[in-house]
């Protein structure tokens, strides 16, 4: 019988299989950051253990790093201690680390792919739920907890029970102005935040095949918001072209061998998935969230739903609570919602294509009065690339703030936070209560919608901008 992509990659990593026990899987790449690693290193130290495979381990600083004044000491003592601890642990154990100020520093899920470390058919883990991002390359990528981080450091393996598989097939053409972010938000609204529970999702179909690598990462990134263990996309020419020439991509004969292997990584025609969802790309439109979980979304052209319209009592209750927290009324046009802050960044939408898309819209225009727009590249290298292309100037001329790389306002562990009651249009992945700052209200959007919203001051798509930008 045929196997799915996930099953192929899984089978290729089984170190030990025994009846009634979880499989012991080999881990090809272990990514570390400052928040979830300290007790793992401490555990190693106590047991007198070393890191088994330093050559498969890499660390970066992202969650706590400030995006301003990065050359000054970090003001918040907790953030400072977490970063200093990571530095000490990496030095003590010999782990490669990219610290604040380093060109390869940035959000861990932007750094791995950009270095060419994330490759098709690999297993990738990190103590962070958005590790699913790396699945865009046809890698099996899981977020793990701190005790599992320690386990991987010590053994380069993880005992894991095999998840089920779900195909999400998207065929057809995405309409103009509809992005990968709109697609994944629509998927999550359709299947719900628990819809992917226990599954590895495989996104497939002609609409997915046409997407760039960065767009594919946006989609796999948010698999976790659908409750899934991981998300994957079969590698193809787009994947190979993205990897070719990157710092850690194979070269010469090894490249050829790798590509030959990567080409086998597709779900067989006779493979069966445990579940399947089909979406017609032509039905999609710019999508925004109105509630406090990523499954509470709707097309931008629609209205805030009436909680009474939800049949399921718990969904109805959740909608009531969400509208109360968000300060919204049922029936209000989504386009009428005024925002205070626009955040462009995160491991969902902080890559160069995202910044280009946002810059293309604000170019020659001004950020609306009373709106603060924060642009935070996903990594220092993305920031440099943007500067090289003059995007930083475009943003600054429009009145946006151009910042240094990190997680920033995606979760507000650093000083970039919403004030209570403040409303944001954010390209990040979670709109939970207080996620971007205590009492803050978040609408998840694409970079294009974020940029148009910054210009109008209310939730908007680029198509809503009828003015002619200056100097064009």
């Amino acid at each position: 019988m045929g196997r799915t992509l996930a099953e192929k990659v899984w089978d290729d990593h089984v170190v030990r299989r025994a009846e009634g026990e979880p499989d012991l899987l080999f881990i090809d790449l272990h990514l570390l950051h400052e928040v979830t690693s300290p007790q793992a290193f401490d555990g190693l130290r106590k047991a007198g253990r070393a890191v088994r495979r330093l050559d498969l381990t890499i660390a970066t600083e992202d969650h706590n790093t400030p995006t301003l004044d990065i050359d000054k000491p970090i003001a918040d003592p907790v953030s400072r201690v977490q970063l200093e601890t990571l530095r000490k642990n990496c030095a003590d154990f010999g782990v490669r680390l990219h610290s604040l100020g380093d060109v390869e520093q940035g959000v861990v899920h932007v750094v791995g792919p950009q270095l060419g470390l994330t490759q098709p058919g690999t297993t990738v883990v990190c103590g962070d739920s958005h590790t699913s991002t790396h699945g865009a390359f046809g890698a099996l990528a899981f977020g793990i907890g701190t005790s599992q981080v320690e386990h991987v450091l010590a053994t380069q393996t993880l005992p894991m029970a095999r998840p089920r598989t779900m195909a999400i097939t998207v065929d057809g053409e995405l309409p103009d102005g509809v992005t990968a972010k709109d697609l994944i938000l629509a998927v999550i609204t359709k299947i719900g935040t628990g819809g992917g529970q226990g599954y590895i999702l495989e996104y497939r179909g002609s609409a997915i095949e046409k997407l760039s690598m960065e767009a594919r990462m946006t989609i796999c990134n948010m698999s976790i918001e659908a409750g899934a263990r991981a998300g994957m996309i079969a590698p193809d020419e787009t994947t190979f072209a993205y990897l070719k020439g990157r710092a850690h991509a194979p070269e010469g004969q090894e490249w050829d061998e790798a590509v030959a292997y990567w080409k086998t990584l597709r779900s067989d025609d006779d493979a069966t998935f445990d579940a399947e969802v089909v979406i017609d790309a032509a039905d999609l439109a710019p999508f925004v969230t109105w509630g406090t979980n990523p499954g509470q979304g709707a097309p931008l052209s629609s209205r805030v739903p009436d909680p009474a319209s939800f049949e399921d009592p718990s969904a109805r209750y959740a909608a009531e609570k969400a509208l109360e927290y968000m300060g919204l009324r049922a029936g209000q046009a989504l386009r009428d919602i005024k925002v205070d802050t626009v955040f462009v960044g995160s491991c969902t939408n902080g890559r160069i294509e995202d910044l280009r898309a946002a810059a293309g819209i604000v170019k020659g225009r001004k950020v609306a009065d009373g709106v603060r727009m924060l642009v935070v590249p996903g990594s220092a290298r993305v920031g440099l690339q943007a500067v090289e292309e003059g995007l930083d100037t475009v943003f600054k001329e429009a009145g946006a703030e151009w910042r240094h790389a990190g997680c920033s306002m995606c979760l507000g562990m650093n000083p970039d936070q919403l004030a209570p009651g403040e409303r944001s249009a954010s390209t990040s992945n979670r709109n939970f209560e207080g996620r971007q700052g205590k009492g803050g209200r978040t609408h998840l959007v694409s970079p294009q919608v974020a940029a148009a919203t910054a210009v109008t001051g209310t939730l908007a798509s680029p198509a809503d901008l009828t003015d002619v930008p200056a100097g064009v």
Binding site: V15, R16, L24, F26, D28, L29, P38, Q39, D42, G43, K46, A47, R49, L54, D55, L56, T57, I58, V78, V81, Q82, T85, R96, G116, L117, T118, Q119, T122, S147, E150, H151, A154, T155, Q156, T157, P159, H248, A249, P250, E254, W255, E257, A258, Y261
Partner: protein, 197 residues
Amino acid sequence: MEAFTTHTGRAVPLRRSNVDTDQIIPAHWLKKVTRDGFEDGLFEAWRKDPEFVLNKPERAGATVLVAGPDFGTGSSREHAVWALQNYGFKAVISSRFADIFRGNSLKNGLLTVLLDQEVVDALWELTESDPTAEITVDLQDREVRAAGVTAPFELDENSRWRLLNGLDDISITLREEEAIAAYESGRPAFKPRTLPV
């Protein structure tokens, strides 16, 4: 993890039920980045009271906590186990433990012993009237012994085997060293590496 075969020590009788993990180690301690140094956070709020049993000079150096029912409820924080161990406890006795706490404790080598409430009552009376009284927790024979008390206890064979041999999850996986090494030697050369070889 340290192996646990049998342990004898003085006790702290804690006559409280439903001690949740927030009382064992308050949330503000979770910002720490190590697994040790939690001893001062153990029962932090209660220790402000000089009359609290842990503060009594005759309880210094005690290693067996005899707790009330439903010990370790609430948040899943593993720090609660670390705090008890950092303080010096080797075993906790109760008539009922919260599941996650119990799982965490056995993973970390802190033996949680389940006994009937009458036995716990007897151990409380004994150790309250005589602070020097010792309790033996014998994992080999699955038995708790003290003056006038001999009580068997249950523990699943897998947890017992792991504790007796001092095996944590990592040590168990490391027993597969041969399989891991064999897998490693068969990995293709084109697989990514973070360091030059």
